[in-house]
Symmetry: C2
Subunit: 534 residues, 2 copies
């Protein structure tokens, strides 16, 4: 620091700065900081604006010349010029040609005014609504509150299934890609843009689907959504016009999908699930019945869609058998029913070859394919996608426009980069190895600690196990007692279309490292209620 | 590089690596890179995995010891250990205790299989849907396609109004805040989380609203949404159950809001707007008529809600007068009608004091307040918010869960940091000064070039002007001719509930720097059609 840094009184400044005679820029730069131009500018500008805000620098005071300040700080003059420009743009200082840079009169911050003295002002947001709310829309009654979900998420032994381990997520790679995207193309990525998703991400996903899932797609066949949940919401909305729509669903299945469909006005019809997956014959029989009763009943039409999880059935983890797949495609084609194929964790298959999705064999345009990066990368990314025949895809894109207009283009561009660079594929390999080991660890621990109570097939893929519980044990009571020991497991009833007692537990193995899985199982064993006399 | 870097044959490796006798790590590190541990790890790991992938390193080959590689590269040994660990986690290499690190057998990538030979495989996504699509849901017919919107956005003289200048957005500050958030709390921010929005952002916005908008709120009164569009969607959905809902809207107004409400099943009822904003007396009269016709008509109830833009009326920019505000609040209270107050560009007020929102004086719980960071920071952030009485807010949160579950917690945390650090406030000051200057530049240019054709009041706030056009000029034709000259202006008919000829143009001044504004006006003047004989 040298004398140039001291504030010099100017003829004008005396008027404004009684009592202030000198000012020193209170900033020391470490050696390493010299490199990052942008950080320097910010630190210089912020130090000065803070001094103005707290009155150390008063209106009218002249700042040091850019040359002398640059010299004193050991930075380039351009850095100081940029900092002064920024301060001027914000209104802290004003430049006067040939005289220097002066602290500006602080902007009179226009305090907002009440629109009328009579209006008064409220003390807080009223707790009651002054208008009619009416009954809760259908499908929302069983949506858990956020606080409940957050409490569960925080449990140290969360074996609730389907949750990935975000501690393994490629967070730094994502942050770097995000920064690169914003730095290079910030103005465009922060602007209004393509509601179908960033073209680069659509192209990258299309290529990935073509390579790994036998889906011959290009970018225009893909719509990016906010997680698979928004995909399901859009599809339900597009197919459930005028309240007459019925959607067939798996009797054991994914409740958030049902909630979305109901909230969109669809009526749901459960179809049986067994150890080959969805019972396609039962679906076919019910459709034939719909058609034959056409004259007598009020509906008389097949369901508009069947929502199905063929790869790892949710929650039972079984893969829909090949004969059923063929029959389902044929049935859908003949009866013009849409198949909503939810392929939520395709990447995690540990033994044998994964099976291509129904969509890969759909030549009649009946499959609406839904995927997500929530499991493979992280739920917080909120990136899902739909591949569907163009007329539906265009309708979904319009709906998306009115719901939230567009996704996060910056995040989408960053994820596209991770795919293009192979980072996503490497991450999948890492996850697959980690989850495979965790699956085996959970299976071994369950056999050791609870072999007499639980019966299960080790799933070939997915992120959780579906275990049959000794029918003499009260499953719900067990789950409640486990929860007291900070273990979260899901009793089968949670997945039933019409909740009833169901002697199953769903146990997720992906979220926790092996030691936590083992401790969770020990606690689960300790929480087991006594068997009723059988 | 020293000899240690050369690949050493091992007794085992000969079996696996015919023809490969030595290997050199093909990596040179610049001096400056030594600092960033993470980048180093990545570069080392990626160089090695690339060599494995392309066969330069074969299964069974032993990698150099961590110590010697670290020495040769001039990095810490820990860096190399981390890189090797990462390669092991990905399955590229395996460590053998006391023997070293070896290139692993490449994972047999399980190629997915067709589920049945009979299934065949499609050549591309079928272009036709094999199921019934039915008519377009209401409200969607006039949603423009993405390609059209993108074409417009790209026009060099885009004066279409309401678009902020994202070139001025705090992109680097945002990228830094995002990286900090992800680095510190990545696992939590990438996980499932709070659907109401990140608690830090809700608290920061609540504090901001309390300070600058007279809204006594705390974090629990705020729901974060994806832009104001999702806020409007959620509100419309919550209030439009069972298809019987009517919403009153400004006759000149914001079409995307109308589209959302219609798609949710609401019927819209236009109310007049004049130079004091919404005509509250007309609204009151129509409500009294609804009530008096209760016995005879099929509706017989007031609208459930009135959607209004009181601060800078969209598109006319006028501020709703104080007497009307009081009457509107009283009318809503008495008739139990919700007021959806869309305060989309509150921050941009250039002259006089801004007026506090209706919500600040709402003591009966009738106002549902909607705001956004799209204009003040950037549309691409997709951050909007709702402040409303708790019972409605809880319902909106549940609906949000079934639509897309949650927002981008990482982006939300990053924006919270920008608010907490005052960066957002400084950005607002910068924008306000820039837009103020642009407003004046546009007004001067319009007066100079088109003074005989356009008549306007310079708006006290907002991002655009509403100019009356000489009635002898065909406004739509003018807009079309301007577009041929790469100028985008919006004719008044676009904002009319029932589109008809309307002698107005909306001209935005926020998006473009002054030179572009001036050139845009020159081109607009050149595009003006001849006046019809009047």
């Amino acid at each position: 620091m040298d004398q140039n840094l001291f504030f010099n009184r100017t003829s004008r400044s005396t008027r404004y700065t009684p009592g202030v005679t000198e000012w020193r820029l209170n900033l020391e730069l470490a050696k390493g900081e010299q490199g990052d131009e942008r950080t320097l500018v910010t630190r210089i500008a912020r130090t000065i604006s803070a001094d103005i805000a707290r009155g150390r620098l008063r209106p009218g005071a002249r700042l040091p010349g850019t040359r002398s300040l640059a010299q004193a700080l050991g930075v380039g003059r351009g850095t100081v010029v940029t900092a002064y420009d920024e301060l001027a743009a914000e209104g802290w200082v004003r430049g006067e040609p040939a005289r220097g840079t002066f602290v500006a009169e602080l902007p009179v911050v226009a305090r907002p005014r009440r629109f009328a003295p009579a209006a008064g002002q409220r003390a807080s947001v009223p707790t009651r609504a002054g208008f009619e709310l009416g009954p809760l829309p259908p499908g929302l009654a069983d949506v858990p509150g956020d606080d409940e979900l957050l409490d569960e998420l925080d449990l140290p032994y969360n074996l609730s299934g389907g949750l990935p381990d975000t501690a393994l997520a490629p967070a730094s790679a994502l942050a770097r890609a995000y920064r690169r995207a914003i730095t290079r193309r910030g103005a465009a990525l922060l602007d209004y843009g393509d509601g179908r998703g960033h073209p680069r991400l659509r192209a990258a996903l299309a290529a990935m689907l073509a390579t790994s899932r036998g889906l011959a797609t290009d970018a225009d066949d893909v719509l990016i959504t906010r997680g698979s949940q928004m995909a399901l919401w859009l599809i339900a909305l597009a197919l459930s016009r005028s309240g007459d729509a019925r959607v067939a669903v798996e009797r054991l299945g994914y409740r958030p999908a049902w909630q979305a469909m109901r909230a969109c006005g669809a009526t749901l019809q459960p179809v049986a699930v067994d150890d080959e997956g969805l019972d396609v014959d039962a679906l076919a029989a019910s459709i034939e019945q719909d058609l034959s009763s056409r004259s007598s009943s009020s509906t008389g039409a097949p369901p508009r869609a069947i929502y199905v999880t063929p790869h790892h059935q949710y929650p039972t983890t079984v893969t829909l058998s090949a004969p059923r797949r063929l029959r389902l495609l044929e049935l859908a084609r003949r009866r013009r029913v849409a198949i909503i194929e939810d392929d939520y964790d395709n990447e995690f298959h540990y033994e044998g070859r994964p099976v291509l999705p129904l969509a890969s064999a759909d030549r009649s345009g009946v499959v609406v394919y839904v995927g997500t990066l929530s499991k493979v990368v992280a739920p917080g990314l909120r990136i899902g996608y739909v591949v569907a025949p163009r007329p539906l895809l265009e309708r979904l894109a319009r709906l998306r426009r009115v719901i939230d207009r567009q996704g996060d283009l910056a995040t989408e561009a960053a994820v596209a980069e991770l795919i293009e660079e192979g980072e996503l594929q490497r991450h999948v390999w890492r996850m697959r190895r980690a989850y495979h080991a965790r699956r085996d660890a959970l299976a071994a621990a369950l056999t050791r600690e609870l072999g007499g109570t639980l019966e299960f097939t080790v799933p070939r893929g997915g992120m959780s196990m579906w275990a049959r519980v000794d029918p003499r044990v009260d499953v719900e009571r067990w789950a409640a007692r486990a929860r007291e020991r900070e273990v979260l497991v899901r009793p089968g009833r949670m997945y039933m279309f019409q909740p009833a007692t169901c002697p199953h537990l769903r146990l997720g193995f992906a979220r926790l490292p092996e030691p936590a899985l083992l401790e969770g199982v020990r606690r689960l064993a300790a929480a087991r209620p006594r068997r009723a006399r059988g």
